[in-house]
């Protein structure tokens, strides 16, 4: 007994907490911000600096530049008894999230959304949500999955309604909250079903249970597993704004300010994708002995504590976990193969429908924020495709599966700049013209050429034409789909979707450049030398630059996935 406590203590203090530093830094920043409400010191210092400083400290503690460098060999470590997984994938997504939050804080200050009164609330909500997202990216246990989604979502509901007193904003927040609560309930029920069928919520243990399950028993529990998996997917699809759980997205994006949209469309999506990858790996790949060995002492404890009646199943795990690379169709246990096939089919279908629907629905939009909302839905579809590809090839070639996942890492790295830039343009133009309608952008190139060129580059990149970074991202996604003949349909759907999306992205460009200026009023001229203009330029440079020379980001993305599927 003492030995157990000692081990727990050692694990928590020596392993888990040091690996959890960035999250702790964010927690401390939130506490500091909230304390500032009561203590008078926020009257003297701008709370932006506290929030930004906290984020940068967290980013420093996360050290992505160190852990993602080529050649360094940090071991993948489970934290808190296997609740979280700390590996390069976690570190990459932590880095992306924290970098984004830092940029976002600067952007929201420049566009002036948080006023003196609200600033603390907004910053606390944003950081709170980010904390949840970081948990999502490192989740290794369905309990953390649920907790992470909720921690990320609840502050977002409040953020969506940040413009107090505007009906449309409050409506957006309410819609978001109700939708979120509903899907969370369904997901929780799904998780409980899975727990019932597999006896654990620890993802690696779950997949081991699945792989070891005798066929007869699997046939018996198939329905429960199937419905559990589907319900779990509902929660993920909501966070990804995948069709048919996307209905909140356009309304929330229209009602909430563009700044919040930027946050939801990038950070929230990045975290949801990372989580999808975690869950997909969790149900489709049996980890090899090396990981299981690190894991076992404490995860066994967790399991015995949580499910005292459940007999330990470690022995067969260790025995069969070694033959990862030599996996052939004959050696894959039937339940595992079925689980993979089910997920490949489900994710492919969701991805295809989401991309197609998003692109088609964007056609008729007149509000730029709604258009961008549908564009993010379509992009979620593209970003889900490599997950299906990875699961389709993982049994045959884990290296290929890793490459597929690295496409997602690359995509999110470019998507960060594209969407932040796009929403920054919307926000700054709104500050000038008080309008977010596409028709009010007519002929803008005459007075604000710099802004239009930047926005044009960003839109072309979202469309995915070379030499912009959006093309490189799409190329990597499509490349992951040529790896297996069963994915060719998805590849063709993805390709045709690019053609579909041409019309509405180009329409915005056309309105800004070719259409005549409105007769009845004078458009304001937006100088690129204002802080806002500089911010937009700084977002546009990586959008174009990463399209011309994307080797560094690609190497980074490859490093981010090197510990997956091992």
């Amino acid at each position: 007994m003492f030995e157990l406590i000692e081990r727990l203590q050692h694990n928590t203090l020596q392993v888990s907490l040091p690996g959890f530093q960035p999250e702790l830094a964010i927690c401390a920043t939130i506490v500091l911000l909230l304390l500032g409400r009561m203590l008078p010191f926020t009257r003297w210092i701008d709370t932006l600096w506290i929030a930004l400083g906290g984020t940068l400290v967290a980013l420093y503690l996360a050290r992505p530049w160190q852990h993602l460098a080529v050649g360094t060999d940090v071991a993948a470590t489970p934290l808190f008894d296997g609740m979280l997984q700390l590996d390069t994938f976690t570190i990459y997504f932590r880095g992306v999230l924290l970098l984004f939050v830092a940029l976002f804080l600067i952007f929201s200050r420049l566009s002036g959304i948080p006023d003196r009164e609200d600033a603390v609330d907004i910053y606390a909500l944003v950081l709170g949500s980010t904390l949840g997202m970081m948990l999502m990216a490192s989740a290794n246990h369905l309990f953390v999955v649920f907790m992470g989604i909720e921690m990320a979502s609840v502050p977002s509901y409040a953020l969506a309604g940040v413009l107090k007193g505007r009906r449309i904003s409050s409506e957006a927040a309410l819609k978001y909250a109700i939708f979120g609560a509903g899907t969370a309930g369904v997901m929780l029920y799904g998780i409980s079903l899975l727990a019932g069928a597999l006896g654990t919520l620890h993802l690696p243990t779950m997949v081991n249970q699945l792989a070891d399950m005798p066929e007869a028993e699997f046939a018996m529990r198939q329905t429960v597993l199937l419905s559990g998996g589907l319900m779990l997917m509902v929660g993920l699809a909501f966070k990804l704004s995948a069709v048919p759980f996307h209905f909140w997205c356009p309304d929330v994006f229209e009602g909430a300010p563009a700044e919040v949209d930027a946050f939801l469309s990038v950070a929230s999506k990045a975290a949801a994708l990372a989580l999808l990858v975690r869950v997909a790996i969790g149900f489709g790949h049996v980890p090899t002995s090396s990981v299981a060995a690190v894991d076992r002492p404490t995860s066994a404890v967790v399991r015995t504590v949580a499910f005292a009646a459940q007999p330990a199943v470690d022995a067969p795990v260790a025995a069969k976990a070694a033959d990862d690379k030599a996996e052939t169709p004959a050696t894959v246990p039937v339940p595992l193969a079925k689980s993979r096939r089910f997920m490949v089919g489900l994710i492919s279908l969701l991805a295809a429908v989401t991309a197609t629907f998003g692109n088609l629905a964007a056609y008729s939009q007149t509000n730029l924020k709604r258009l961008l909302a549908y564009s993010t839905i379509a992009h979620a579809g593209y970003m889900m495709m490599p997950v299906a590809a990875a699961l389709a090839v993982v049994g045959r070639d884990p290296e290929l599966a890793r490459e597929s996942i690295s496409a997602i890492c690359f995509y999110i790295g470019t998507y960060l700049f594209m969407n932040l830039g796009a929403f920054a343009v919307v926000a700054f133009v709104r500050n000038e013209t008080r309008s977010e309608e596409i028709r009010d952008y007519a002929g803008m190139i005459r007075r604000s050429p710099g802004l239009v060129v930047c926005f044009g580059i960003i839109l072309v990149s979202l469309l995915g034409l070379p030499p912009m970074s959006g093309f490189a991202a799409k190329l990597l996604v499509f490349k992951s789909l040529v790896t297996d003949p069963q994915l060719y349909t998805l590849l063709i759907i993805g390709g045709l979707n690019t053609v579909l999306s041409l019309v509405y992205y180009l329409r915005v460009v056309k309105v800004m450049t070719i259409d005549a200026e409105p007769q009845d009023r004078v458009l304001p001229s937006f100088s690129m030398l204002t802080p806002g203009g500089v911010f937009i330029t700084l977002m546009t440079i990586p959008v174009a630059g990463l399209g011309i020379w994307w080797d560094p980001l690609n190497v980074l993305a490859q490093q981010a996935v090197r510990q997956l599927f091992s």
Partner: protein
């Protein structure tokens, strides 16, 4: 090698650099902007002309006439983590098209002088377009090729959409949609070929081996680091495939290995990877050529585009389709090309006949010229497609070589005559502001110099002996005789249709007693600027008609080698395969008979 990098990069990126520079010139200094752009196109043209002076050998950057090999080739690291290299080079197929591009751009920039709307933006887009066009002909890395291919789309969209005629927005988006659809197909094919390519297999199973046969290996121009990886893999140190975007390497894989057409692993519906890749690539290029039935973007785009852009569209951009088929489709996917030769030829003849009939029916001068392009580019598709290498049961690729040479020549001839025709339409449109063929007449009397030049250029388009259009048509028609007599007769008969619409047009526009249309008083003789654009075009049309060898000497070695390689492939790989198939079928037939 460094000097080759500098030279070719300079040729391709000089226009883009000048475009960047132009962004900082004040908007109202329109003359400075135009002069800078003209100077830039002139410099690029002069550099390519200098390269055309026959060189002496390997270290000379100028074009070496005697060899079919790649010249001035280099492969520099670009995105090595995805096997992408900055790989460019020249040979007899790309070099004439490169000069054609730089010449057309110079002419088109000269023709742009009366553009008065947003001059700065126009020039910037024009120069970006030029970079894209030049790059397509020089790129030998599939990814790089695709990037240049796509870079042209956006400038073209704006050039048609902002400076075009009344239906410009419709025409611009139609052009964009068609081309993007084609390029998406192309992208899928590129990725399929990339993923199934493997340099290790190529090295192991063919003569292109880095250790045993370093000279042959050097022809592929892979980067040194990759060569080391291949050597290591050959020694058994790694078993991961080494993919590549290198077009030359993919070509060797298509011809010397079973990577793309392994009969045991068909991709879908029993067809191999290369069969599908060929179809996708061919469709992508056919849209650009354009071939019937995917040509419908062309009349709209050509008619609505401003004159200089129509010149570029007809003069250069259509050639990219033919170039792509010649450079990529056929060499990389020979089996599919062999099996689908009848399909390619049929599309070619269909385009010729359909385009000619459509041109005959047009009332709009520019639309007629646009349809004549569809018809003339059909010869290109046909000339490439003829897989006529059997002659009385023995292999003799001479006719096919003739057809391909004819197709190449036709591309260049059309690249000279077609911009000339569009320019001629533009000259008269600038004066009378209409293009209705029935409302002209009597221009001979009012604008004698213009009419004389127009006669020459239109006759070159018609294919009159002694002018450049004749050579290509004759070569193609002759070569097809031995493949299919029906097609040969139809294609020869098309010449009559061509003569009909050109002569009828000349009669309605230039001859006759007097001018019948509106704005008659605006008709003034040709200006010096217009003359200085039209005269060189006509001079080249006559020169290449009288002395075609001037072009043939550049391209024949490479074209001949391309055909030779494919003929060898047919003899060594395809024929035995077919023979075995026949035996198998016959054997199974016998077996069923005996039962």
């Amino acid at each position: 090698m460094e000097s080759a990098v500098t030279l070719l990069s300079l040729v391709v990126f000089l226009p883009a650099l000048v475009a960047l520079l132009l962004a900082f010139v004040p908007k109202d200094r329109t003359d400075t902007v135009k002069l800078m752009s003209l100077a830039c196109t002139a410099v690029v043209f002069l550099i390519t002309c200098w390269m055309a002076i026959p060189g002496t050998g390997a270290d000379d950057l100028r074009f070496d006439l005697g060899t079919a090999k790649l010249q001035d080739a280099f492969a520099v690291d670009w995105i090595p983590s995805f096997d992408i290299y900055y790989f460019m080079g020249l040979d007899g197929i790309s070099f004439p098209l490169l000069i054609l591009t730089s010449f057309s751009c110079l002419c088109a920039m000269g023709a742009s002088w009366n553009i008065s709307k947003h001059v700065k933006a126009y020039c910037i887009l024009f120069l970006l377009l030029e970079t894209g066009m030049l790059g397509v002909f020089l790129a030998l890395d599939f990814f790089l090729f695709y990037v240049f291919w796509e870079v042209m789309l956006l400038p073209m969209y704006f050039l048609i959409g902002v400076w075009g005629g009344p239906r410009r927005e419709y025409a611009a988006i139609k052009f964009f949609l068609y081309t993007l659809l084609g390029s998406v197909f192309m992208l899928i094919a590129i990725l399929m070929l990339y993923f199934n390519s493997d340099l290790v297999v190529l090295a192991r199973e063919s003569a292109y081996n880095p250790t045993k046969n370093p000279e042959k290996w050097a022809e592929i121009h892979v980067a040194e680091k990759v060569t080391k990886e291949v050597v290591a893999a050959l020694e058994g140190k790694s078993n991961r495939p080494i993919h590549t975007f290198n077009i030359i390497a993919l070509k060797k894989m298509g011809q010397h290995t079973l990577l793309f057409n392994n009969p045991d692993t068909p991709l879908a519906f029993g067809k191999s990877i290369q069969w599908w890749a060929f179809l996708l690539l061919f469709l992508g290029f056919l849209i650009k050529v354009p071939g019937v039935p995917v040509h419908t973007w062309l009349p709209d785009a050509h008619v609505e585009a401003p004159t200089p852009i129509s010149m570029l569209l007809a003069g250069v951009m259509l050639k990219m389709g033919g170039y792509g088929i010649l450079r990529i489709c056929y060499p990389i996917c020979p089996e599919a090309a062999h099996d689908l030769a009848w399909f390619v030829c049929f599309i070619g003849v269909l385009s010729m006949v359909y385009g000619a009939f459509a041109a005959l029916a047009q009332k709009d001068f520019k639309r007629m010229v646009a349809y004549s392009s569809v018809s003339h580019m059909g010869y290109v598709t046909l000339g490439i497609g003829v897989w006529s290498i059997f002659e009385a049961n023995r292999f003799n690729p001479d006719y096919w070589s003739m057809g391909m040479n004819g197709a190449m020549f036709q591309m260049l001839a059309h690249g000279i005559s077609s911009p000339g025709m569009f320019f001629m339409v533009g000259v008269i449109y600038d004066r009378v502001h209409h293009r209705n063929l029935d409302e002209f007449g009597g221009l001979f009397g009012r604008m004698p110099v213009y009419t004389a030049l127009a006669f020459g250029i239109f006759f070159a388009g018609l294919g009159l002996p002694g002018l450049c259009g004749f050579i290509g048509e004759v070569f193609v028609t002759l070569s097809i005789w031995n493949y299919s007599k029906t097609l040969a007769i139809i294609s020869a008969a098309t010449v009559i249709l061509t003569a009909a619409y050109i002569l009828w047009m000349i009669q309605r526009v230039y001859l006759g007693a007097e001018y019948k249309g509106p704005h008659g008083d605006h008709i003034s003789p040709m200006t010096g600027r217009e003359f200085s654009i039209a005269a060189p075009i006509l001079a080249l049309a006559i020169l290449f008609g009288v002395h075609p060898n001037l072009l043939f000497m550049y391209m024949t070695p490479t074209v001949h080698q391309t055909v030779q390689e494919l003929a060898e492939w047919t003899e060594d790989v395809k024929a035995p395969l077919d023979a075995r198939q026949r035996t198998v079928t016959a054997a199974s037939g016998d077996a069923s008979d005996s039962q």
